[in-house]
């Protein structure tokens, strides 16, 4: 009986019966990997579940067989007795009650354990996915659509949840039930068993045909759904334009066309899948009826073997053994219990394949190679002792590179200064497509280097090499004269402050967002950083000041305000080297001035790489690099470059002539 209960539970999960199966390359291998993952942490629990399922199925069969005992052993003999003794019956019922109880306890234990296994496995998997994702190189995020990564956490995990919590135990249950019910049926009566099996094949054939037909239509439905959804997305995005151009009528006309097409397809697809249910149910009934007739005839010959029975049935009885009325009753229950799990197995199969497609994507993410880090030079707090730099365990405000030399087993300390050199660097996102060529530059500590050039010239790419978001193909980048490949990535990045082109803020308060740059910063430090970035003023005007909650990437702030927060975040980290990839094109001139002031204050005394397009930022740089198509084509300060009358001069004067046009 427990399997019936489960079936009801299952229908809540997936609606698309008869939906086409997604293609999975190695379902067996994947399935084993999922199982291994579950067993890793919940091996014992899984064995408990397995045992519980066997106990439950066994108890159910005992319960069904009880009907036979009840009628044959107790009721039939007692009919007609004057003083029937119900004592033996009471004893038998107590035994059955015990079976029932065992079954119930087992199924309860199973359900609870399974819940723990499922949720625990999912929790581990989520955490593992997330931690692994955090360790992946930037390249992974460049090459994978963010929506796809998200859907691993949402859709794929969810189908896997259904597979672990429902499909696997149900499949187990069904398999055990089928075997044991089949066994019991054979024991009860062979011809009836054969009838039942034949009917099951008819059922599988019929539902297979319906599934095939509906699968084809489901594909059509998905296609039309995609078309309509695409149209909806496009039109809703442009809805304001539709209004401005009074295009409503035409839009409705097109929408109706797509909408009707979807209706037709959706009707057909669902029609085929919705007759699957009745086909299975009623063919099950037909099987039940045939068994009833054949069984009735058999029981009749058994009951009247001495009477004027038909010789044919008599012969049958001799061949296949007899059938009592109680036996018939039990058999009929088995008949129902047999077709149900078979149907379920085919349904579960579909959903397992669907879940495996999700599992494939989950494992693909887990199999992505993490960012490697062979750096051994680390950043430590330092202090001067007898004119020598030594490591300090407390926060001193001074930093030094701790460099261990394997050759002579010595450790040297070297102060963190912020000297950056590029030595003939080539870089490409792929090995065969180099986007930066022969980059040579040298930034002395405290110098300001400006990168100028059109979009796509490679300005941002250069800055991404310094903090090793990407690794170079050829050449050398040195930081304080240490090859950056030798520096531990963690410490390298700690020593660099970055304000990115796109500002990203996190859900949390304003103060928390600033503190992101230095987790143990005091409130005073947060305020000081905000003041430095010219952000203090607007923060204090926010409804709850520094405690204002930011959500959705700081959607409640203006572009300029978000940028000021990003500057404050960099300021609090107080790094010796700064990278400012400013994107102020969408900020008006006046707001930009405020942002600029904040940036200027931040740049003071630090080595700064600044990507800029406003002259005021560029002109007082120590060195301006003019980039074009991945190459530095000019290099020098403002005055030198103007005298050169090259590209920089062109950019500079070209704009000016435009202004007066």
């Amino acid at each position: 009986m427990a399997e019936k209960v489960k079936e009801v539970k299952a229908f809540g999960g997936r609606g698309a019966r008869g939906a086409p199966r997604p293609k999975v390359k190695n379902p067996g291998v994947l399935f084993m990997r999922v199982m291994r993952y579950i067993f890793k942490n919940y091996g014992v629990s899984m064995i408990v579940v397995f045992a519980c399922i066997i106990i439950t199925v066994f108890a159910n069969i005992q319960g069904t067989l009880f009907t036979k005992t009840l009628i044959d052993k107790y009721i039939e003999p007692m009919i007609g007795q004057d003083n029937p003794d119900f004592g033996p019956l009471a004893g038998a019922m107590a035994r059955v009650a015990l079976f029932y109880l065992t079954g119930i306890v087992a199924s309860y234990v199973q359900a609870r354990t399974m819940a723990k296994i499922t949720q625990g496995t999912l929790k581990n998997l989520r955490i593992e996915l997330f931690e692994h994702m955090e360790s992946l190189p930037i390249k992974y995020f460049d090459t994978n659509a963010h929506g796809d990564i998200m859907s691993v956490y949402t859709n794929d995990i969810d189908t896997l949840r259904q597979m672990i919590s429902q499909s696997i135990p149900q499949l187990l249950n069904s398999a055990i039930t089928i075997i044991s019910v089949l066994g019991s049926m054979i024991v009860l009566n062979v011809p009836l068993t054969i009838v039942t099996i034949i009917m099951v094949f008819v059922m599988l054939f019929a539902s297979g045909a319906a599934t095939k037909a509906s699968g084809k239509n489901f594909v059509a439905q998905q296609k039309n759904l995609g078309k309509l959804n695409g149209y909806i997305e496009e039109m809703m995005t442009g809805e304001k334009v539709v209004k401005v151009f009074c295009h409503e009528a035409k839009t409705i006309e097109d929408f109706d066309k797509y909408n009707n097409e979807l209706f037709e397809a959706s009707f057909k697809a669902n029609a085929f899948s919705s007759i699957l249910g009745p086909i299975n149910a009623q063919l099950g009934n037909v099987s039940y009826v045939i068994c009833a007739i054949v069984g009735g005839a058999l029981a009749l010959t058994t009951a009247s073997s001495t009477g004027a029975g038909v010789a044919f049935f008599l012969a049958l009885t001799h061949l296949f053994g007899s059938l009592s009325i109680g036996g018939l009753a039990s058999f009929l229950t088995f008949n129902k219990n047999f077709s149900m799990p078979i149907n379920q197995v085919s349904m579960q199969f579909n959903s397992i394949i669907m879940a495996l497609a999700g599992a494939e994507r989950i494992f693909r993410l887990l199999d992505e190679k993490s960012e490697t880090d062979d750096g051994y030079v680390t950043l430590v707090n330092s202090k001067m002792e007898n004119g020598k730099i030594v490591e300090a365990s407390e926060h001193t405000g001074h930093w030094a590179w701790k460099h261990y030399h394997q050759a002579d087993n010595t450790t040297t300390y070297q102060p963190l200064e912020g000297d950056v050199t590029f030595n003939d660097v080539d870089f490409g996102y792929d090995d065969d497509k180099i986007v930066l060529h022969n980059i040579v530059l040298h930034a002395n500590p405290g110098q300001k280097i400006a990168l100028v050039g059109s979009t796509g010239a490679g300005k941002t790419t250069i800055t991404n090499l310094i903090n090793r978001f990407y690794d170079i193909q050829d050449g050398k980048i040195r930081y304080d004269n240490i090859n950056i490949n030798k520096i531990s990535k963690k410490d390298l990045r700690k020593s660099l402050g970055i304000v990115l082109q796109d500002t990203h803020l996190f859900t949390g308060t304003v103060a928390e967002n600033i503190r992101y740059g230095k987790l143990d910063a005091t409130d005073e430090e947060v305020k000081a950083a905000a003041k430095l970035a010219n952000a203090d003023g607007f923060i204090r005007r926010l409804p709850e000041g520094y405690d204002t909650m930011l959500t959705g990437d700081g959607a409640n702030l203006s572009q300029g305000q978000r940028q000021l927060l990003a500057i404050a975040r960099a300021a609090i980290a107080d790094p010796p080297v700064l990278i400012l990839d400013e994107a102020t094109s969408s900020i008006d001139t006046r707001t930009e001035k405020i942002v600029q002031d904040g940036m200027d204050k931040l740049m003071m005394g630090r080595t700064t790489f600044v990507i800029a397009h406003r002259l005021s930022t560029i002109r007082n740089s120590d060195c301006i690099l003019v980039m074009e198509q991945g190459r530095i084509i000019e290099q020098g300060n403002h005055k030198e470059l103007l005298e050169k009358k090259g590209k920089y001069y062109q950019l500079y004067t070209g704009n000016k002539t435009d202004i007066t046009a």
């Binding site: 119930i104 929790k123 009623q282 990045r493 859900t507 202004i659």
Partner: protein, 584 residues
């Protein structure tokens, strides 16, 4: 509950199908229910009386009923699919039709992504739920009732056990379901939070890595994942009770029936066949009850979708056509009288404060000011994309609220700041401005907007296909096509809302020159960041913090207005701030 039923109003032509479908279902259920009774008869009359003929005839009757049940079931399935697919079609249409009447304010309220979700995911949810309701919600109670009636017909005493079991079970299940749904709701809330945190990390991965905050984020995520684990486990632990409770009830019933049944058979008041039928009904009744409770859970889950859809269908457009609309716009004169405007009525501070403004027909007016100074809000009132909160805006001497909206918008052509192109050829897109425009007219408009030069260089020129959202043209090209599209309306007023920000300065100047030469009588309003875009206008409006700071000719402003001078000097002259970002 009445809210849950509200989408049913959209069934319309499928109402009949939706009513017929459960009837077929009932037919199927009745057929299924008769079979155990006939089975009992075979045992009692056929086997009992050793009547092979009876067994055969009853058997054939049973087969016939099973086939009839199959037919009813298939018909039920077909009608059900049709009704639910029809319902979802009509829901989508009702929403979409109503969205077309929405004002900008209505659209802002729901947001684009909100509307997309409602039209797609939410409708699918309802379609699935409705399918389920049509099959299960009718089938389960029906089979419960039919089985109960038949059970009472067979033996009232034993049937009353079922009745008691049903009552007890529904109380237990009800409480279980209610508490579980509450937990699940909490789970879904936490889910959203978790997903948000993943989303944030995916898009801000550079920040995370730049600040070496991987461990920090991992710890945050671990906590969130742990939270979900606990909540989910609580909910599932309650669900875990359902199966055993169900089985216990069924088993107790079977034992009771067996015991009582045995006594009754022995005393002759019940036959063996009847006992078998009764045992079969026992499962039927209790399983149906189980289904009813599952349906209840599913309905509460689709409740949110229903509510969201109802919101869109019932939303009244905030802008309606007046009763006797003015169908003709006389000229391009614009006047603002004491205008206050706020996007939301409950807003404390209006976005525009006390605007008084008079623009002559044919004048070209530039508008500059800081971000957030309400430049766009100002011009959006002219074509009545929003209604003023107080005061009035007149075009051609008539209050914009007295015009037929379509007439007004055709004469006041706006190039929105956030503009969109649609998938289709360039010509298709241009003809949004004028569906009857000839190719020559389209080319002419593109020449004015300086779009002709790059379109001619495209492989299929004016028949080049534009991808969704205009993703295969650059920002500057997109802006120029949008301007050409607006020009094709041949409007009396043309409004450019920062529409040349991605166009290089030289081309920008060319476009403005074309305007002056070709459409001198059209009133032109130009919002811009670049001083060069507006310094040749007749007059310039300086917006500051929702108010008009100054309004005058460029020379006047240069003399008297500090903000203007500041912007002017930062962009031109000796301390010029040249723009080094090459536009393309």
């Amino acid at each position: 509950m009445s809210e849950l039923l509200s989408p049913l109003a959209q069934l319309k032509e499928f109402k009949k199908t939706a009513i017929v479908s459960p009837l077929w279902m009932i037919g199927e259920v009745i057929c299924e229910m008769i079979i155990p009774i006939l089975m009992g008869k075979i045992v009692d009359e056929g086997i009992g009386n050793k009547d092979m003929g009876y067994i055969a005839s009853t058997g054939i009757l049973m087969l016939g009923i099973a086939l009839l049940g199959l037919f009813c079931g298939c018909m039920g399935g077909l009608t059900r699919s049709k009704a639910s697919a029809g319902l979802s079609r009509n829901l989508r249409k009702a929403m979409h039709d109503n969205i077309q009447t929405f004002s900008f304010a209505n659209i802002d309220k729901f947001s684009t992504s909100g509307l997309v979700t409602r039209l797609t995911t939410d409708v699918s949810n309802i379609q699935n739920a409705f399918m389920m309701v049509l099959s299960m919600a009718v089938r389960a109670p029906m089979s419960m009732i039919v089985a109960m009636i038949l059970a009472f017909y067979l033996n009232a005493r034993i049937a009353s056990i079922y009745l008691i079991a049903v009552i007890i079970l529904s109380i237990i299940m009800g409480t279980l379901m209610i508490t579980t749904t509450r937990y699940f709701k909490k789970v879904f809330e936490r889910y959203d939070q978790l997903n948000e945190s993943v989303q944030e990390n995916v898009s801000a991965i550079r920040v995370v890595k730049a600040y070496v905050r991987e461990d920090y984020e991992n710890n945050k995520f671990k906590k969130a994942a742990g939270n979900i684990y606990e909540m989910f486990l609580k909910a599932e632990m309650r669900l875990a009770c359902i199966g055993p409770v169900m089985t216990t009830t069924i088993n107790v019933c079977i034992l009771l029936i067996s015991w009582i049944g045995a006594h009754m058979i022995v005393s002759g008041s019940l036959t063996t066949g009847q006992l078998m039928s009764l045992l079969a009904y026992c499962m039927n009744i209790l399983m149906s009850l189980m289904m009813v409770s599952m349906i209840f859970v599913m309905l509460t889950m689709s409740e949110a979708s229903v509510r969201r859809i109802a919101e869109v269908i019932n939303e009244k457009s905030l802008l309606t056509n007046p009763e006797n609309p003015v169908m003709d716009v006389k000229d391009g004169a614009i006047e603002f009288k004491n205008v206050d405007f706020a996007y939301k009525k409950e807003a404390k501070e209006p976005v525009l404060k006390n605007i008084n403004l008079s623009i002559k027909s044919g004048e070209s007016v530039g508008i500059i000011g800081a971000t957030g100074s309400a430049k766009s809000s100002l011009v959006n009132l002219i074509s009545r994309l929003y209604d003023v909160t107080s005061g009035s805006v007149t075009v051609g001497g008539v209050d914009v609220r007295d015009y037929d909206i379509e007439t007004l918008r055709n004469q006041v052509s706006v190039v929105l700041q956030k503009n969109e192109l649609f998938s289709g050829t360039i010509l298709d897109n241009l003809r949004w401005g004028d569906p009857n425009a000839t190719q020559e007219e389209c080319i002419r408009a593109c020449q004015m907007a300086c779009a002709d030069e790059f379109i001619e260089r495209m492989p299929e020129r004016y028949n080049t296909h534009i991808e969704q959202g205009g993703s295969n043209v650059s920002g500057g090209q997109k802006q120029r096509i949008c301007i050409a599209r607006a020009l094709l309306k041949k409007p009396k007023i043309l409004i450019l809302d920062d529409s040349t920000s991605a166009v290089d300065t030289a081309t920008d100047a060319k476009i403005r020159k074309a305007f002056n030469d070709e459409i001198p009588n059209t009133t032109k309003l130009i919002i811009a960041q670049r001083i060069s875009s507006v310094e040749n206008c007749d007059r310039i409006i300086i917006m500051d913090n929702g108010q008009i700071n100054d309004f005058g000719t460029p020379n006047e402003l240069l003399e008297r207005n500090e903000i203007y001078r500041e912007i002017y000097e930062s962009q031109t002259g000796s301390s010029a701030d040249a723009d080094f970002d090459e536009k393309n």
